[in-house]
Symmetry: D4
């Protein structure tokens, strides 16, 4: 249930189509549906303004199907599933129509949403090995109704590739900067951009990258003041935050 659905209900109340009590029942009585193994929070789209997302890891294909169905029965049009490996995706795809992306291990169930964001979200990444995470961010942002511009393979050791894209960077409403190893991309983009930059360290690298710790620390220490950081490999949150910013009224 999103804000618009809620206003519809309230309008019906205003127009006498349903009573206030009936409205309350629609809204408040079942803030979440208890599925036993997980409380599907059907109110969250109201509280947070977005469609529901399912974190696929650690859930069985059956559990995911059940949650998707419950959400759609409660009015969601689009459900995003993240961290979904291929085996589960195939099982789920046998029951529900989903579009699965293997690189980012995400799936979208239901209709592709209209573009409701006000501007463009840029998703940039340093190298081809960061694609899994950049695509998670990009697909998340698209599933939440945003137009996404992808800038891939613009690592700072070939700074001219990035400089060529200055226009795109300066016009973005929000930018997701994905990088492993030394994570310098976020700072350079942060210095070029006037919008918020959400930095995502990746676990790509070896040796002293320590599973993404190196990029994480570098991004946290960015000398560009418009950079904030999410967890290592957390492309989803980055795309999600970019979408909220792009939908601010």
């Amino acid at each position: 249930m999103d804000s618009k659905s809620l206003k519809d209900i309230l309008n019906k109340v205003a127009q006498g189509e349903i009573t206030a009590d009936e409205a309350v029942n629609h809204i408040k009585i079942q803030p979440y549906v208890d599925l036993g193994y997980a409380k599907a929070d059907t109110h969250r789209s109201l509280r947070q303004g977005v469609c529901e997302v399912i974190y696929g890891q650690g859930k069985t294909a059956e559990q995911i199907c059940s949650i998707v169905n419950t959400l759609m029965d409660n009015g969601e049009k689009t459900v995003l599933i993240t961290r979904l490996d291929r085996e589960k995706a195939e099982i789920i795809g046998g029951e529900i129509h989903i579009i699965y992306d293997e690189i980012s291990r995400t799936a979208v169930a239901g209709e592709k949403p209209d573009i409701t964001g006000k501007g463009k979200i840029v998703v940039a990444c340093a190298g081809t090995s960061d694609l899994y995470c950049a695509e998670e961010a990009a697909i998340t942002a698209e599933a939440l109704g945003n137009e996404v511009v992808r800038l891939y393979d613009v690592g700072v050791a070939g700074i001219h590739r990035l400089m060529d894209k200055t226009d795109i960077i300066m016009q973005a409403k929000a930018i997701v900067a994905v990088a492993g190893m030394e994570g310098a991309l976020a700072s350079v983009i942060g210095g070029l951009a006037s919008c918020p930059v959400i930095a995502v360290p990746t676990s790509v690298g070896y040796g002293a990258s320590f599973g993404g710790l190196s990029a994480l620390l570098a991004m946290l220490n960015s000398c560009a003041s418009n950079v904030s950081v999410v967890n290592i490999d957390n492309g989803f949150s980055a795309g999600y935050i970019a979408s909220i910013i792009n939908h601010q009224e």
Copy 2:
């Protein structure tokens, strides 16, 4: 030089008051003024849409005065100085009119700006010992033209205090959540809010807080998807990012 000043120049061109070449000279020839010890970047407000900020630590009072004067001579109306200890503030205050806040160690030179942000920014913190950092965020946001609502002493171990403020949290355009120790405030607020939450870990605590590392890690691992994180004690960046979000058109 901010976007508006730039448009003024361009309008003068359009109206034949100055030639295009003269305009270019105004804009491009001197992207930064070289003061010897630091290049004052008079173009950044154009590129990033905000007034200039000076990081006070490691600069002498004389250097700070010089930079402030250069910036104001180039048209800045408000200059924010962060990490400024009392001794330097007193020296600077003898030469330039500043408003100094001792808790957050910030000073504002020039006029207080009009409120140009579209909504309210909430700055929340867990305890009185986090005030230094929360105020840095709040004063930064105010210096950048935002209305700020302060929610202080709403730590999660007394969760009812926070729950009393749910309305304020749900109506914010951006929230800065400041906490040391276990850093749980960001997650709880993230779950209640529909806007982006910028989390600031503080170095408050002892023992296994390891100078803010504990809060930092907790915030990076937040189960709320709208939370991103800046460096330990970096109230400035949090207020800055919140301001950009609150000014998105």
Copy 3:
């Protein structure tokens, strides 16, 4: 041998059924039985007031069977086996009657004990992926004679789910709070509860969760004073300590 068995022996002495020397022999001569690969400590239930527990990891199914039999021959009625994978459980189940729980990888041999605890122990966890650890705590507490109330999927990003259960939390004699990622659950529950809260960080998460370190640090820094912490994934010790508290006279 538990305290009650010891008193029985002493009563027999008091009633002249056995001599003091015979009693001493029963009690002191064989404080532990040497099985070669591990000294089964048949006196620990006397010293620590609980039935015996076997840490299954690193022991063969044969060794575990042998220890269980030795303990039961010495009078234990219930033996709990933790960290027992399915393969070993099936081998052991072929020789001894056990009840095996696959999620928590625990087994109980012998009779299910009477409920001897004075009140209720609450086991709470943040998400479905923490179940393995929460169930280890819950089954341990049950095996030690306690009534357990399970509060699962009450993570802090959906704080209203937790607030709905305030009554249950306030009436508990001891609470086990299980959480990975940011580990904030312990602090929020600690603030609501008047009994001791034993926090268990789990290794659930990715990136900067660093195998549970993030949750561990957050819990150690809890601003709620009634929270103490056990090792990452150590549901057993948490359930064990909760049981001791619930049995205090």
Copy 4:
């Protein structure tokens, strides 16, 4: 306001001395008193069953005096102040009667409470350099109405000193084990005791003690199952938890 005060109010209702509404006003209307810089939570003793405690660090002597007075005006008989340095203690002592302990940097305002705990709490520490933390735990437990037995200088490298005290350890209702360096004391006491052991790592040591990290990790890895751990140098929480356990009915 503690549970007993609450029952008194409810009894007055039952006996017609005050109306239910008046009772509600007493209890619910002012869950906390807003002092501006800190919300003094006058309800916490109801929710958590103990008198109020003030964390002195980061507060001025004036703020502490104000909070103490507010609490006592709301009916608290004893207020414990921790992390209070000598300078502030002298200022506060000029206004309010307090008993100050310099080693642990704690002060007690108001009356010394009656002993209401059911048994004895043992506070053990490894060396004289751990006294500051052990005394914080001991004074806390005493301020909360417990009889405390101190076992100091019983480090594991002189194990016979500890073994001499086995009787005291076995009869305790709760034990606080304080140790720096290798932190082994908690495990050895845990093995001897049948009650919960709250371990407190101290920052005592040098080199690879890393400010208490070494002792913290050792205690978290204790092979004794009745050991839980609080933050480095957090004697207060340990004494507090021991007190709750010793007051369980």
Copy 5:
């Protein structure tokens, strides 16, 4: 070539059986034999007083065979091979007579040496899961000519088991203390013993044991002054050092 072999050569010189120059050729010309992939150091037994040891990990079975043969051709009577997995051991055993121990993954080629150490070496460990490392130390010490007393399963949480062995500990010439988790065994034994204690942390444990780091730090911080530490799981060096101490003249 060990010291005795060297003296034999020198005696032959003294008795005119070979010339000094011939002796020098025997001794100095070929300080190591180049096998291409590894220089087998046939002089080390002279410089360090012990027979040769081969670190098996990362070498093929064929390489190990070749090195063993080279060493034996140069006069070694006993060769110890460590970190040797079962597959390689079986291949080697097909060519050379070895005694293989699967728990410690060590093999001994050649004759079992006479006991030349002056006293007894005690190898103690905390639990059955530490056996792999304790046996590596014990077999190493035996291969180097020492009598070894094994004290296994004497963890500190059951301190009476260890106290029962005080006599053995007090009479040792050198002690190897092997423990994972909290690593407290080294300190307790150090306090009871008058000889050097070589502590070996093991990687046994989970969660906050961090692969042996916890035990390592605890042992380095031992309050017993006769404790020194070797690398995690390095039973070999511990047995080796104990042997040198036991052979000091």
Copy 6:
């Protein structure tokens, strides 16, 4: 009380000068003298074969004087005091005759002992900045009756300085290798020596030396098998262990 004093008592028993019961009283009744703030363990020299040592840090000059006097009244001839700063040393020196070394911050009270060790102990260090720790080891070893050879400023970056001293290294009974920064000295000396090498990392260095962690890890990973390690800056334990080895019979 050392082994010899004990034998004297037992001889008196054998010769009828005192009864067995009187002897027992001498020996066992008072295993430690309770000074209130610290139990002076007058039995340790019996159990561990060396004179008593006082860790000066955290003790007042008065406490140290009192402990020294107690120990000497019980028959100790030499007492070593470590980690003693100059101020305390001057106070103590006013009451008791001590020899104070400012570099290592150690003092020796009582007579300088006879040399009872069988061979020479070598103390080597890498640079002049490591002297404080090397001297702590050397003075400790001398106070325990050993002849000490000092090899200072033999860092591995000037390997020829160290190679010049090969003879001294090869003839030592035990070697203490003190180094900060990369800690390589221990491995190189370990490869040259046939006796045990006790490595002491120092906190000397900056940046990535992390207070001695770098040297500590390097020493623990030494490829020389005769190297064991003590805590950062723990020259005392190294000298102590070297002395035990040099006194092995």
Copy 7:
């Protein structure tokens, strides 16, 4: 395109064979070729003076083939492929002529280059288990036109093996020092050499080597001033830097 090719073009301009505009088109218009999944940077050899290198990990065999062909079509004569596992190497070898080295997992496509370096590059490593990394450095240097001298198995615990090679070390133009565990090799070689030493820590070791961290820290703390460090296991960069130094004019 390397510097020489560029000069050829410029010479043609000078000799009127092509126009300046045609030259510019050759050089600047296509600074990189967009292959979709990765921008093959055909200009880098101009900017950095070396042939192209492909980091094989995370790329499919097909992608690698495509990049190699693109580069060669643009004039590269030699292409080095690193981190290439055997399976991919076999697929690639089916399409393009490569020389594959399994130990270092590197392949060279195209012609072996002439030796253009001015002197010799020494690659030294401590043990046979470091060969994989040393060979990556050596083959890289050879592929870039250098003569390489290999000094393998010269670990510091057998310092005489290294001292035998002092001449070779003193005559090198650049040295790559590869070592795991305590990483001391870099310091010792640094002290003997007059040229730059590029140190490569390897992940070889166990326990407290922490995947190469121990060697990394040791090398960063080297007391030899001519030592700089690259990432753990990064033999490629070390060989690459050594080659640049050996080609300096």
Copy 8:
């Protein structure tokens, strides 16, 4: 004694001015002069091709004077002293002519050397707070006979400042890149340059910069292959290595 002095001696031999034996005496007999507290290595300039450098920290002003005099008496013309605080510099300056730089805390004694390096060394740093370290590198390089170009305040968040200097970067023979916080400068410069880049992380920053660890890790993970790294704040080694590269023949 540098290579040239040595050749002079050898030429004198060739010309019969001195005998070979006399030459040997000059060269080999006194490889270092023993000053008691430190062996001044008068041969190192021969072995490593540079003048002598004294690490001032931990040495007294008197010791430094003595070493400088010894070196100059043995023929050094220039002596560089690093890590020299102002107090000592003033004392030394009273006895020997030195040029002291307070920002970098370095002093140069003797003549300023001729420029013997073949090209230019660029020293770049990110911000004014990194100057102390950049100047240490620059002054070192100048003292060793190099021409140095300083590029200060070229941090990556204002990338256009750095891009303006591309020509200077591309023409350098060696570059020292100094940066704290996220350390991204090294990668960006590495990508632009064709010469070796020696990266120096600084301890500048706060919070998650962890004293330079963040910049250190970022630099080690640089995606530019020509970057190697020295210790945090080690400007000296960076300048020293750059000088060796610039002097390669």
